[in-house]
Structures are given as structure tokens and as C-alpha cells.
Subunit: 143 residues, 2 copies
DNA sequence: TTATCTGCAAAATCTTTGCACTTGG
DNA sequence: CCAAGTGCAAAGATTTTGCAGATAA
């Protein structure tokens, strides 16, 4: 759903945030790199190529803003840096396969957790709003 | 399985690592705080109470060692610090419920992913060795 | 004895903050 | 115009590293 530029800009305007050139650049980088799990620094490096004046601070603040708006998700794969991924409605059925040998992160689609979330509400009184599922192992190339 | 002091020490000896007083303290802290997801600093604070000379460096190095031995797992819940949890064989069926309001982390037991992991091997050629499943939402108290 | 381990201090990362200047609406 | 946004430099927070002295086996 929120996988295009205008949809994200509308969300920003709705919440009275300004559309700045820096924010446009960052949003476009995220859109051009769906499923790549970029880190703040990787986004920064790409952004520098477009506008060399753009600062790291703006990257972090814009990413925080997009996370707050719910269009971006923070991810951690254990390499010490936060990574980011745009959210769309299918993301809820989208999980990660992390290779312990080469570090590559693949995607895996599967909707199986909805029934489980209902059970968690019944058993524990915990209302699930989102989930993250990661599988660690050896990818086909490394095997 | 590896949920007692002697079992962990045996693992250390097997790999020719020494049993030092510092390592004993750290292992005991982990054993006394199962399911608490302590951070390095929290472990350090407890350890300081037992031996004030024990340094942060030793905490990090010992935790890394235990992770390498497979008796300890690193966790990240998004608060910027790595947390640690001792592994036993049931851990594979043990997931986390993270409350987005109060930050509390509860446990949830459920074995449901084994069949799925077989499917991942068939479809993607990715051999799963471990998984992490987190649910984000609102806990019973915050609701 | 001696390879391993420890603690300190310093460095390396990653992320956040204060502040003066700039700018989108 | 002016509240919101930006960039810089500095600070914070967490984790890692170099090295000299200590110690388990």
C-alpha cells in the first residue's frame, strides 16, 4: 500500500510535516532499495551522491520520523547497526532468512502467524500488533 | 539441557578454555536470571556486587565466548543494547512478547515452526538452524 | 611454566543533542 | 513570516582493542 512516493508524502502532510528536498531524497532511496535492509550509513552514502550537503543527522531524524509514521520498520540482524525496511501491507507475511556463514539476508513469504496471535490474546491477554520472525542457518550458496 | 553450572563449565573445558572466578560469577548470574534478558551492563552491575574488581571488558569477552560455545544467545529488542539469554533445548520453542507501551518482555512457548523450516529447505534451499520470533503489541496490564 | 585471561585506558562505532542558520508552506 | 527542518560539532552510549601484568592448569 505505502510503497510509492506520493503515498508517503501524503502521510507526512497529514501530520503537518514538511516535504523537504532532503526527505524526498531519503524516501526515494528507500523506494529504490526495497528489500535491501539499508542501514542509516548506507542511506547516507547514497544520499551524499545526490546532495553532498545532506547530513547524517538528517538521515537519522528522517528515518525516525518515517518509523513514527508507520511506513518504515527498524530491523536488527545482529551486526550492530539498525537497518530499515519500508512497510507495506504484505510485510506482515514477510520474514527473513539470515545466513550465518555469509551474512546474506533473504526474504521469505508465509502467512501462518495470524491464528497464533489470536491464541496469544486468549492465553496471555497480550494483543499482538506486529511480529518479526527470523530464521538463522545456511543459505543455498553456502551449503 | 545446558541449564546448570557444571554443564557450562564442561563445555568450556572441552574447548580448552579456563574456568576463572570471573567466568564463574558471570555464568552464575546468567543462571540466576533465566528469562530476564540481561544486558552486558546489567550483568556487570550484579557482578560488581560480588567482585568489585571485575571489569566490563571481561563481561563482554565472556559473553562472546558463551555465545560462541552455543550456550548463550544474543537478543535485541530495539533499545540499543544487546541482551543475553541462556540456551537450553526448549528455547527453540520459546518466543518473546514485547509490549510497545511499557517495554516489558514476556515469554511465550509454542512449537509450530518445525514444519515450516522443512518447507524453507525445500523451497529456498536454506537450511534453518535457529529462529527468533518476536511479537510486538500491548500487554495485558497496559490494555 | 606458559598460554590464557584480566583490567585499564583508549579507541571505535553508532546514534543523539544543542544551537545557530535556513526554508517550506 | 515563522514554526519546522537542517547541518555541524560535540556529546552519549555501547562495544572493541592494545597491552602489561596476573593466573589457571
Amino acid at each position: 500500500m505505502v510503497d510509492n512516493f506520493d503515498a508517503i508524502c501524503s502521510k507526512l502532510k497529514e501530520e503537518k510535516y514538511k516535504i523537504t528536498p532532503q526527505r524526498e531524497i531519503i524516501i526515494n532511496i528507500l523506494l529504490d532499495n526495497l528489500n535491501k535492509h539499508l542501514s542509516a550509513e548506507e542511506i547516507y552514502d547514497i544520499a551524499k551522491g545526490i546532495n553532498p550537503d545532506l547530513g547524517m543527522t538528517t538521515i537519522y531524524r528522517t528515518l525516525d520520523l518515517l518509523v513514527e509514521l508507520g511506513v518504515l520498520q527498524k530491523l536488527e540482524f545482529g551486526d550492530g547497526r539498525t537497518r530499515y525496511e519500508l512497510q507495506d501491507e504484505d510485510m506482515h507475511h514477510h520474514h527473513h532468512l539470515i545466513c550465518l556463514k555469509c551474512g546474506k539476508v533473504e526474504e521469505f513469504e508465509m502467512d501462518l502467524l495470524e491464528a497464533l496471535e489470536q491464541k496469544i490474546l486468549e492465553k496471555k491477554g497480550f494483543e499482538v500488533m506486529d511480529h518479526k520472525l527470523k530464521f538463522y542457518g545456511t543459505c543455498s550458496e553456502c551449503r
